[in-house]
Amino acid sequence: LTDLAGATVMLSELRGQVVVVNFWASWCKPCKRELMRLDQWNRELDGRPARIVAVSIDSDREKAARFIQDKGLALPVFHDGPSGLAAVLDLPSLPCTVVLDAWGRVVRVRGGGDDDTVRELRHTVEALLENRPASVRAGEVSG
């Protein structure tokens, strides 16, 4: 992945933390609404071993950067384009969020961007942080 400045970043650098990877695009209105919620949640996670990262699948990195700058979002945002991870994972919907545990294993894939989605994602992450088994099967796609 590349960050919005163009520098290459490896997701594996976040190993050891619960990572929520949100796929979004500047042309997807529900994605943008969800991103605002995730940004707020990411601020709340400060100091805990969990991170939320957003991956833009816009073809044009500038469009993603403009939105992030306009809204003053603080969560880490990367750019990957429509033919990168999105195609490899064959995302079932957009927005789509993947929760990885501390070992980098996919625990949950959740489509949608409404309040219920974020609530469920929070539940999953809290369960992982407390070392409780998440209430969903690994790799389950819902939403």
Partner: protein, 73 residues
Amino acid sequence: MIGSLRALAPALLATALLAGCASVKAYQREHLADPIMSFDADTREAARELHWLEAREGSTGGAGIAGGGCACN
């Protein structure tokens, strides 16, 4: 020979037309979500009109397609 070609023509035409059909994944809909893909001549004006209509009627939805083609609804 010509008769059999005539009989085949509709099938060949249908094959040629349907060959262009393909499902579009959610993450491939950037161009479809572009306002320019709307049927309205002036998409911004149409959006303003819809907003005004929704405010007047106290309801939203039910107009046009859902969302921006991102398959999120």
